[in-house]
Point group: D2
Chain length 261, copies 4
């Protein structure tokens, strides 16, 4: 069985900051969120690489992107620094079938907004309040082995209204101690690619240490990769479909036949 | 009652071409598709303007765009010439509540692809074959007064697979003489704005002369404008929601309270 | 302008109970929830009637049902007593275009389950906890004039997972003090009819006294009635479509032509 | 690996008719559609049984139904003879996770209408015209190995408008020689169960002999069974969720705490 090629991309700024905030975060993720996830998600059917913003080609040269089956994306304060050309390459790769898992503050990333067609805004508050997640789609592969509800003791609040399109399949909804609710796990399809947005994951809390969170990400990787196959339909450029003997058209007025665009 | 401000944008290239093809099209639309539609869609509750690619600011300076309730968009061979900055302004305006009706070959326009998040490709063939439309959403405002099925004697074929997201409400499906089918009228919502894609409208056939087609566009304008109201939610930038006396949070660990971003 | 004919149906059992619980509820709704809503929702464009379970034909003879544009349904402990034949008549009427607004514990009513095709179960808890509603679909007619968020001081908790189909347009999501979340306002389309489920409305709290709740119900009535028109498509029984001169089929093998069912 | 238990149910009336029509059909399906499909779909990972209307308990006693992972359903002229109690049992089993594949004229079966909540009507014509199917959801497991388009030389026309809910994922759309279009393959989710409706399959044409059609059914069986797992959420009856030490609620007014229902 071919292994799934996973690339975990992280802007890797908060964890590298030379100040007290950075030091605080390094207690949770000593080598960055990407390295932590790579270690925790390791499995026999996965080949996991990491990539960060400060690497050449922002970590995602074609040689990496084109051999990635599922891309995880963590970004927050440097969305604007991601090259538009890279966003375009990722976008095309998703439409061609690569899965993408957008984490936490990646809701404002260029790639997520590009895939959604909306602003993807939400309400937020960072006071370390409790978050309680609820499974809304039992039976979905992403929730396999995940309890119907579980709690994160400290989380950044992300709250409605979240302006995403209506075709998201809601997998999780979250409750926050301070009075907010959120569609915290939502799955989309964009052409041949699958997209999963999952909101828990603030850098100052050890959320990716939580076994349920890791289980969800682990499931999501397999789900996002599950239909990988060569794109079979709608090649680039748009297909012109000629009249064939199979589908003859009779009695056409020659004056009306123009198209050789 | 406040009138609905409609702007009909047309790249206006085919109809202005100095060659035989242009001459052929001018027999159908002497002053361009935009001018023709402006005349045919005129009504007491509408204020209709037109705009074209070659005008200053590509016809859509802020003074026009910000006073447009519903934008009709016809483009084909010059999608790439539309400024990215203009596309961005239109996009924001749609998300803020402006309706947009994307016509025919506008499926590949920058604004439609931006709103969809996909490539919006399809199959096509231009041999003047017959198209038969079917109403799939009876009762929808866009089909009021439109027969359950009607025929266009000559049309450009647009066929599946059309790679749009799944949240489109299918209003029309089309049958083509040569053996193809198409979701020819699809309605979307993107944040506060409504989007309607309607495929019939090739420049070399008198499709916009058809009373059913005009009725559909006329209905779509009212539908796209029907919920115009000041955007009330999710202002820019993202709202920070403080803890208030209404929603107190007790026992927070001060060390966990970071966010002053 | 033709008025909208509204019928408010209530099983009217809790409010009529001769015990202490009934007495408690009568302090809030002296003449039943139906009478209270009739009074509070009164408006110039509405003609409102009420109907209750104990009336002849369970309050909804054909003479009433066939002249009802929008039906409100409040039921809880007597779902099983509603005649299957009545449920069938209501179902057909909804599919033909009548709007229906299902209130609170009506999630388990026969008519709602019939329209959904699922069990419509949820979690619940009745301890008088606080409920906070969030508008998830700004710009939707049902939320016109409703604040982005508002609170009910005491409510019965209805919580996820709510097993409804995925085509519901989520209008409201609720937060509950005890740690639960819920899709508390969801809009559906079933053939020509519109369906709105709205969960707040427990009989032992004065929820229908709340101006926001009344505003929502008031909006929902207009929304549910907004596309009333004679059903134009797919008459009963299923339409056989003959081959016509408009759509000739040539070269058919007579042996293959069977169907005169 | 546990095998998938498939049960193919057929009303088995047309193929058994003692008249010329029956004789005609028996040339195509000598022992009934169910037997034919059982033979053609046989595979190492499947255990296939058949069941027919005239068997005891209409072929689906609890001992069969409760051990069925995926049910195929072919019915046409005897929908009314299927016991309501059996429909109820099938419905519950689907909601609990059994997949169901509804074939051809099963669009009017009690079980499909129950699952949809609508009348599921369509237009039809039986003149042996050509049907051309188009894949609309490339990458979906149901279309694996199926060409983007293929033709059935003779088919019964099923045409729009098909009054199903909007949450159907459109997998196939069909073109008919006589001028009609149809959503001929649509996938739904109802609670824990998957539903696939697939329209080709008229008894007087050898449609189930077509390798593409068999491939689609074969794929659909695996798809419908793919998430089989014990239902983990929302047990029967509705769960009451108590306040726990995990989610304490303070300051509740004892007078407001009623619920011991």
């Amino acid at each position: 069985m071919r292994k799934i090629n996973v690339t975990i991309w992280n802007e890797f700024i908060h964890e590298a900051a030379p100040d007290a905030a950075g030091e605080y975060i390094r207690r949770i993720y000593p080598e960055g969120i990407h390295s932590f996830l790579k270690q925790k998600l390791a499995a026999d059917d996965l080949t996991i690489r990491t990539a960060t913003l400060n690497q050449p080609e922002q970590g995602l040269p074609d040689s990496v992107l084109k051999t990635t089956d599922v891309l995880l994306w963590w970004g927050h304060c440097a969305h604007d620094r991601v090259d538009d050309a890279l966003v375009e390459r990722i976008h095309q790769r998703v439409l061609d079938g690569m899965g993408v898992i957008v984490l936490h503050s990646g809701h404002l990333s260029k790639i997520f907004r590009r895939l959604m067609g909306t602003r993807c805004r939400l309400r937020w508050r960072e006071v370390g309040e409790k978050e309680r997640l609820w499974v809304v789609a039992p039976g979905h592969p992403i929730v396999a082995g995940v309890p119907e509800t579980f709690t994160l003791p400290h989380s950044e609040m992300y709250g409605e209204r979240f302006d995403i399109p209506d075709d998201g399949k809601i997998i999780f909804m979250s409750w926050f101690e301070g009075g907010n609710v959120f569609r915290s796990g939502v799955a989309f399809r964009r052409d041949s690619g699958k997209v999963f947005y999952f909101s828990p994951g603030h850098e100052t809390y050890p959320i990716y240490h939580d076994p349920n969170i890791l289980r969800i990400l682990s499931n999501a990787i397999r789900w996002a990769a599950s239909e990988l196959q060569p794109p079979r339909v709608t090649p680039t450029p748009e297909p012109h479909e000629p009249i064939t003997t199979e589908n003859p058209l009779k009695d056409l007025d020659p004056e009306l036949i123009h198209g050789k665009r």
